[in-house]
Symmetry: C2
Subunit: 225 residues, 2 copies
């Protein structure tokens, strides 16, 4: 029966429970093998069920994968909310953010490489695009919450747009992930250092320096002339 049109049986919906259970199994397998190399039979082997059941709960492979990744990412776009809320100073937020970035690579490298796998895949297969773009936007928002709160705590202006901010941290993160996966032990410490350098650069000058610098800049223009 088609899942979307099926009649639900009980208030506690076991159908969705099973979907989530299978999503977990799928994530485990996908993170290990990657999207292309993972077959439905592989996923079933990582679950208590046989391969036929997957088509009972999901229309096809694509729906299963999309659902699984969305299911995972929903959890992790709030990974830094704690740090953002608790931090009392810009420095504390910076350190918490950097540490947590490195920590999640250590803990969930397979999930992250799966995400990048799917994002790239979406450049070839447009059926994945909606899912990917939605998640990407959620991640951009996540980074933006960090950057704006950081600016607030530092009493400075953000001088970088949300898209750029996400892109540059994503670049650092992805590079660190690649190095980490290839067995480079310096990947994570390096990432922490890089974030310490980069996050302050998303901001403008210190407020009481702003005026002075503006003056200096005008003077410079004169000097050049």
């Amino acid at each position: 029966m088609i899942p979307s049109t099926r009649s639900r049986r009980s208030p506690v919906d076991r159908f969705d429970e099973r979907r989530n259970e299978l999503a977990e199994s799928a994530l485990l397998t996908l993170g290990e093998l990657g999207y292309a190399r993972t077959s439905l039979r592989d996923i079933a082997k990582h679950s208590p069920y046989s391969h036929g059941v997957l088509h009972y709960y999901f229309a096809d492979k694509l729906e299963l994968v999309s659902y699984s990744v969305t299911y995972y990412k929903e959890r992790c776009v709030h990974r830094y909310d704690d740090v953002v809320q608790r931090s009392q100073s810009a420095q504390e937020l910076l350190e918490g953010f950097a540490d947590k970035l490195a920590e999640t690579i250590l803990d969930e490298a397979p999930m992250h490489r799966l995400w990048y796998d799917l994002r790239v895949e979406s450049m070839f297969d447009e059926r994945l695009r909606d899912t990917v773009l939605r998640i990407d936007q959620a991640l951009e928002d996540m980074i933006w919450r960090i950057v704006t709160r950081y600016a607030e705590l530092a009493d400075r202006e953000v001088t970088m747009d949300p898209t750029s901010a996400y892109a540059v941290f994503d670049g650092l993160f992805q590079a660190a992930l690649l190095k980490h996966v290839t067995g480079d032990p310096t990947a994570l410490p390096t990432l922490v250092g890089q974030v310490h350098q980069l996050l302050p650069r998303t901001l403008g000058p210190l407020p009481h320096e702003a005026a002075r610098e503006k003056a200096a800049r005008e003077k410079t223009v004169d000097a050049v002339r």
Copy 2:
């Protein structure tokens, strides 16, 4: 016969010529379909030959793909050399770099998404790692030549390490590529603007401002105490 042990026939080596010809066909197909979905028969269809010939010139699919991508990237790691050499001012270099980044997305989007496909793939398949890491290093060097020359022309110090510089520009580039591929017409103009913002941030303060700023910062520390 195994290519690597075969005896070469003539001074003008037609064996390598054919390899390159097949690499071109492979790149065309891989850029269109992605690594996972491209079969050797697909590649052969984009060439004047039949599918069997691929195993005459390459040991297996992996060698073909590695060779093809290396073959392509060798050409494009020098894409910005002209701009670096010709530019007479920091501003000119900045504009030339930003424009060329956008231009290559417009012209060679399939090749770029293929590169990202393979780089992600290398996180799952270690047989790809050597090839990927070598190319990645070449790209980092490429970016570093631009950043250092930019700093030179601007008479300022680079205050970002090579790895970070590559990672952040790669992040912007990849995000722009994704948006471009999904049909967003603002992707490329946005990228140009982002690069204009970012490249100056790889540098420290203007030299005649450095001393003044240093003094200001020390004063700040006192004020905070």
